[in-house]
Symmetry: C2
């Protein structure tokens, strides 16, 4: 009911033989893409970014129709997507991402040491499963595709069924731009359908998988990836409730402002962000009337698709029906896949006791307020919180509890936010969009920011290889001007 009516060609299922052909083209492209100097690949990324920007008037209406987002949101997200492609182009031109190291032979080293030189090389074809909630920035030409292409890996996207026509049109734009810029054929491909996705994860030529989506869906694909005769890295970004802790001092000093900010962040995009703050710890006695009025006053907005609607309704029923919760605002479904926000409340003891149910992600416009009396007992949440993308602390600088809450955040999450909001992930170098399971399946990595490229690269060391036979990035004269460390020192050009 909530997705556009299927066009004659939907849904499509890529046949196994066609999947094989796509994967073989990707594998054939892999050494050619890897052999391009970083600057050459930077030009490919620029070309894709330019083409996507140019095609905005084609792409945005499809996104509006299929993802039910307003125009401004779609244009903004497309801008973020092309910004990201250009950021990776900069990363390539800089060259430090290669982590090139030169350790000349050293007879006095203490253990035998011939000349050894190291750099990172692309893993090979990467299969990308995009997310429904970011039809541009985390989908067909999103962060996983951009970082894998930047690394020199061909990309095969499994189109998200929530926006099939946008996925196809985006893939056409990307493929055309790559071809025009001289990329090898097969550097980018698109497949469709659940079974094609499964087979792509299992395909012998696939070397890694990027995924953004739900815990059950992501875990099923992760299980496939690690069950292969040759297990491959699976970078899944799954689920997170993104807890927000408000200290007593902060609530006293600026409670109203914090609650207004919270309501805005939690309901942005109808709560359909992986960084949506879903659990709010507040001191007892904080007036919730204004927050409830804010939630109650927000109009219903369409959710992404039937699957999201179904999952949200079930999750909300579970939370609302739990004996430990009190419903402050019960959101309303308009029968057309739209929901207005819901607000529920529980106490800290109840949360600690029923954490498995109450801390399950409810993807959509719902918030659980957890009230506490003893601030120090907030730290007990560390024992029940699973891995998170973010933890947010609202406190005062001289709050006695603040250092411990920030440490709690760092112990369970990939990003710790102070007096701000987790939605709106900055695309920059120092960003981490990741965290321990189930936030992601690969806690060492991020899927946003320039270090996301590291997921698709592996180290190779050359031992005693003559200068003329070394990769250019490792030759004595450093013809590519790549920053390199020498004898373990800091990288320099």
């Amino acid at each position: 009911m909530n997705t556009p009516p299927p066009t004659p060609e939907d849904p499509r299922e890529t046949a196994p033989g066609e999947l094989d052909a796509v994967m073989e083209r990707a594998a054939a492209a892999a050494p050619l893409l890897a052999a391009l100097a970083p600057g050459g690949r930077a030009r490919l990324l620029w070309a894709v970014a330019e083409a996507l920007d140019t095609a905005a008037d084609d792409l945005v209406p499809l996104a509006r129709e299929e993802a039910h987002y307003p125009e401004a949101r779609c244009r903004g997200e497309l801008g973020r997507t092309t910004f990201q492609l250009r950021l990776f182009a900069d990363v390539l031109e800089d060259g430090a991402y290669l982590e090139a190291m030169v350790d000349p032979a050293d007879p006095d080293w203490g253990t035998p040491r011939p000349d050894v030189r190291r750099l990172l090389v692309p893993l090979g074809p990467v299969v990308v499963f995009g997310a429904s909630n970011f039809p541009f920035a985390f989908s067909t030409a999103g962060g996983d595709s951009a970082s894998a292409l930047a690394a020199g890996c061909p990309v095969v996207v499994k189109a998200h069924p929530g926006h099939p026509r946008l996925a196809r049109r985006t893939a056409e734009v990307v493929t055309g731009a790559l071809a025009g810029a001289g990329a090898p054929e097969g550097a980018f491909g698109l497949v469709e359908g659940v079974e094609a996705g499964r087979l792509a994860v299992l395909h012998p030529l696939t070397r890694a998988v990027g995924f953004t989506g739900s815990i059950p869906g992501g875990r099923a694909l992760f299980d496939l990836a690690v069950s292969r005769p040759d297990p491959i890295p699976f970078y899944g970004e799954l689920g997170s409730v993104n807890p927000v802790f408000v200290t007593r001092a902060a609530a006293t000093a600026r409670g109203g402002e914090i609650l207004a900010g919270y309501a805005e962040s939690a309901n942005l995009g109808s709560g359909q962000f992986c960084t949506k703050p879903g659990v709010l710890f507040l001191p007892e006695g904080t007036g919730l009337d204004a927050l409830a009025a804010d939630f109650a006053g927000r109009a219903a907005a369409p959710l992404l698709n039937d699957r999201v609607v179904g999952g949200f309704a079930r999750g909300l029923d579970t939370l609302a029906g739990h004996p430990a919760t009190e419903v402050l605002v019960r959101g309303v479904a308009d029968g057309d896949g739209s929901w207005s926000p819901s607000l529920l409340r529980t106490g800290l003891d109840a949360l600690l006791e029923h954490s498995e149910t109450l801390l399950e992600e409810c993807f959509g416009p719902a918030t659980l307020v957890v009230t506490y009396s003893d601030e120090r007992r907030l730290l007990e949440a560390a024992g029940v919180l699973q891995g998170q993308l973010t933890v947010t602390v609202h406190g005062e600088e001289d709050d006695a509890i603040a250092p411990a809450l920030l440490a709690l955040g760092a112990s369970v999450a990939g990003r710790v936010v102070w007096n701000g909001w987790p939605t709106g992930v900055a695309v920059t170098h120092a960003m981490t969009h990741g965290g321990p399971y189930p936030a992601t399946t690969a806690p060492l990595h991020t899927s946003v920011g320039s270090t996301a490229i590291r997921r698709f690269l592996r180290p190779v060391t050359y031992q005693s290889v003559p200068d003329g036979l070394l990769p250019e990035a490792l030759r004595d004269a450093n013809p590519l001007n790549v920053p390199r460390s020498r004898n373990g020192g800091l990288p320099a050009v």
Copy 2:
């Protein structure tokens, strides 16, 4: 027959309750170890290195008895082990391993950018399974333990049953040195027995696993690690045949010297190195008599333990009984677990056809020579070689085939060696001891060299956190003098 007679206390099995206690002590130590400034942890590593060196006369006799290695090998390996600990101490004092990044707020960035700062933090308790063939350098206080401790992760070692007494004594020395240097209790522990090992991988408090050993053993534990409700990183170094390609030009120019070097490397430590070159590609017409005489002239030497003896005998039977192989030298077992070297031959076509059997690792003193006529057809090996720790090329600098063979090496292996030998892994910054599966279960990483620390660290980003509440490494004044990148630039202090 081949391991020392069990003492009254062998074999030991750590009871599940005791394992729980060890893991709980490790988890309690984790935040304390993480909170030590890098320099403080460097002092711990130095103390462990000093204590192990001081205890050499205790430890070496145990290693000789349990691993059946000569005195010099044992002393050399202990030296490598303490060198490694000191190298990681240097890495900590340098601080670049933290990958600290500072991106100040920037209203002109193109997408919203608050102040974000990133560094790497320890994963938490790490379980280490040592190898039998390096009772010091890849076992109780070996590379995995050293790099995990350096990262700030408590270590729980599952003692290798091939050297239980050495494992216990080493653990005593390590634990004593850590306590003396002020490490938190629980920073290092030892458990014993197959079941305790399984339970340690599955234990809820375990955050990562390091493993060096066989493909079947490692894969079984990998499968456990990824089957957990919360899958954890499993760094397994499993198997590799470490192919050596000799071009026609090289064989013509210095065939005798190459074959003599090969025999030495392949039979070092009775072929019981993970980097043992096991498959040697030679041009047809290369005289094999001298190589056969060399192999035949080498005395039998004891293998590590019964399991290695059994696996080697089965592997050799399979190779020798295969219709596509010819036995040039059949090694002899002396009935006491000693074997003399074996040399077999096949052709390139046969290898390509029967690669699954002929390219299976035969851990011990056996070599398969693969003769070829058309040098260009060597590149077809890329289609049948699984992931390798090393590929070695012996060629001439102007060999037309050399660049393609080096590229083949980089495409399947973590290290490419030119006109040298893969045994003797240099402990240095630019080393990679790793590779695609089954060389390892984690192709992005190395288990030797200073970047091995990266396996046990994950990124955390702090957003808009006031200076006084940031980790010291990220504060404006940089009180720890940690190299940091700013706005994506190169790291500097």
